[in-house]
Amino acid sequence: MQTKRTIFGNKGLPYLLLAPQLIITGIFFLWPAGQAVYMSFLREDAFGMSSTFVGLRNYTRLLDNAEYLDSVKVTLVFSVATVVLALGLSLVLALAVDRMIRSARGYTTLLVWPYAVAPAVAGILWWFIFNPTIGIMPYVLENLFGYDWNHSLDPDDAMTLVVIASAWKQISYNFLFFVAGLQSIPTSLREAAAIDGAGPFKRFWTITLPLLSPTTFFLLVVNVVYTLFETFAVIDATTEGGPAQATNILVYKVFQDGYVGLNFGSSSAQSVILMGLVVVLTFIQFRFVERRVTY
């Protein structure tokens, strides 16, 4: 048997073919990331007229800063809640659609719609629905349950709002992958288990869920990154990190301190920390969680 090997006559050709990808990574990732690392060691005025090298001071000040540590906690609560909600709900919906035969396509289309909505638009929609003065939900909550909803003052209300809004955005995406994952599970396995007398719950826990684990794992990684970075627009449109920083997640704080506050040193240090955090998280996920995944 011969191994299939392609031999390039020209030594430069493989590099040339790789170049577009490398250039894009370089320009859009390595260069800005390097710039952020460099800036995180500087103290600069807003216009960049003078800059001083301050070593690790931007980092040490962050770690001493109670608001920054609060933001870490807020991010943790927000990410876990959003990921659990987005994965859980979309799995339930996918399971429901998987049982449909004729109407599955229609439901799938409907459930994918929210993904087409821009995050900022989604944020504004939720802002309207939950607006304490003019929104419909506070009105319903007040009249049906006697609950006085006010996310501009109550930190828990605000957190609930951003979690719902962010999860809603991501459910469509997760749902699609779950539906595809479910369809790739051979029906014969489930039928065999059913013949052996396993009930629907037993079949779900022992057959469907384990066989779905590659999808679930992939979605876990994607969703964690989503909650850390892409929820910016939703937060900006609904709570702007408030009230009193109750929904000020790390990525929003980077924006606040850098773009609004013009404190580029601290903002860069924060994005470097955030970048490190994601690298570590992804590493942990691949190293430890993936072991439990059956492909």
């Binding site: 103290r43 807003a46 960049g48 007229m49 003065t133 003019i134 003052l153 109550d154 408030g242 013009l262």
Partner: protein, 441 residues
């Protein structure tokens, strides 16, 4: 043959185009005026362009005040800055400190030989935007001050005199309770811009110090002092009133939820910028609106003093050619003419920034025809400004505004009392002021 003809024609037309472009110098102007105000702003540029043929001012809407300012700074760092940028009053400290990045207006006018008389402007406006020597650094454009709006129909339904705005906070409270118990409205009052109206202007109006060194005008070493007993008492009251529904919180920043609460007749009184006048009148076709000065606590010595301005000025960024700078100077000269200013003032509710524009508006019968339109000017000129009521100037004040909002929210949520909230404002604010001093000192 054919090809060269086309090429020649193209070259000729390109040449013609560029000749046309070079005849007029383009001045880029970034502003933050959206909606109706944006249309009025663009109209100013159009009028200027029509009035002469040397320069073309190209206005460009850049989003909120914060976005416009940070966008211009980012553009400056990239060497792509506009000639003129509109910056809100709390950004003044940052812009002033950026020596080399800005061209002070008094210097620009001198260099270009444009006639310019700072004493023609309203003192409260000049004072806010001048350096310690009294030189004007930026061109006043849109200045406003918070006033009180009230719903005359609700006042009448509650058995109050619809022609009498509340003068003191005691009256605001008493009127609110009467309005609520009579069922005329659900809530007494709401406010936009908590930090601007209920802290900064509240302090000036009661002649209370906002920060050391003349509220920061005296130098970067200033410290906030807003945790005094008068302000603490007011914030405690606001928290208690919010609890009872007398006061309804409109949210951080400009307070997005405040205007709808007033327009929907939920709240009977509303404090916001005098420049909200046009918006208020447009949105309240179902009831009559009354205007009043900001309320004060009667027992505070020296109150009412005078209110301070907010709004924005036009800064000239460095890096323009001599021709462009001459164009900017001509445009500023046009903007400060009494006719243009009076029209702008009457269209928008912003203050007339020159004495002449005020007098012209009066002569045109504007105040007689529009009762309440002069409340803002009278309130700002009520007394000669003291060191506490001239204005304020702190570095990083954009973020300090956010801190004020955050601590106010913590107060309303019952996490701290007013003393604790204001102490935290002072402590967290001073840290930012020290940072600014470090980076710009």
């Amino acid at each position: 043959m054919k090809f060269s003809k086309i090429a020649a024609a193209t070259a000729a037309s390109v040449l013609a185009l560029s000749a046309q472009a070079s005849a007029q110098t383009q001045i880029d102007w970034w502003h933050a005026m959206g909606g109706e105000l944006g249309e009025k702003t663009e109209a100013l540029a159009t009028a200027f362009n029509a009035s002469q043929s040397d320069y073309v001012v190209v206005p460009s809407y850049r989003g909120s005040y914060t976005e416009t300012m940070t966008g211009a700074i980012a553009a400056f760092r990239a060497g792509e800055q506009p000639n003129i940028v509109q910056v809100f009053e709390v950004g003044t400290g940052t812009m002033m400190a950026a020596q080399g990045a800005i061209v002070p207006v008094h210097q620009l006018m001198e260099q270009t030989g444009t006639p310019f008389d700072p004493s023609a402007f309203l003192p409260a406006v000049v004072g806010y935007y001048a350096d310690p020597q009294g030189n004007m650094l930026s061109m006043p454009f849109n200045s406003s001050t918070p006033i009180l709006y009230y719903n005359k129909n609700v006042f009448e339904a509650a058995g109050l005199d619809p022609e009498q705005a509340p003068r003191t906070w005691a009256e605001v409270e008493a009127f609110s309770r009467q309005i609520m118990s009579s069922g005329a409205a659900d809530c007494g009052f709401t406010t936009g811009w908590v930090s601007w109206a209920q802290l900064e202007n509240f302090s000036a109006w009661h002649n209370q110090q906002i920060g050391t060194l003349q509220n920061g005008f005296g130098g970067l070493e200033t410290e906030l002092t807003v945790n005094g007993p008068v302000t603490v008492r007011h914030w405690d009251n606001l928290a208690a009133w919010q609890e009872e529904g007398v006061f309804q919180y409109g949210g951080p920043g400009g307070g997005a939820d405040a205007p709808p609460a007033f327009y929907a007749q939920q709240c009977a009184m509303y404090m916001n910028s005098s420049a909200s006048r046009a918006g208020v009148l447009n949105n309240t076709p179902d009831f009559e609106v009354g205007f009043g000065m900001l309320p004060y606590y009667e027992d505070v010595a020296g109150a009412p003093q005078n209110s301070i301005i907010g709004g924005a000025t036009l800064w000239v960024l460095a890096g323009g050619t001599a021709e462009e700078e001459a164009g900017v100077a001509a445009f500023f000269n046009f903007l400060s003419s009494p006719e243009v200013q009076a029209q702008w003032h009457q269209d928008t509710g912003y203050l007339p920034i020159t004495q002449a524009a005020y007098e012209l508006s009066e002569a045109q019968g504007y105040y007689a025809a529009n009762p309440g339109a002069d409340v803002s000017i009278n309130q700002m000129n009520l007394n000669p400004p003291t060191e506490n009521s001239r204005g304020l100037r702190f570095g990083n004040y954009v973020q300090i505004r956010t801190i004020i909002d955050e601590e106010f929210q913590r107060l309303l949520a019952g996490e701290v009392d007013a003393q604790g909230a204001l102490d935290a404002v002072v402590e967290r604010g001073n840290t930012l002021i020290r940072d600014f001093e470090d980076a710009n000192g």
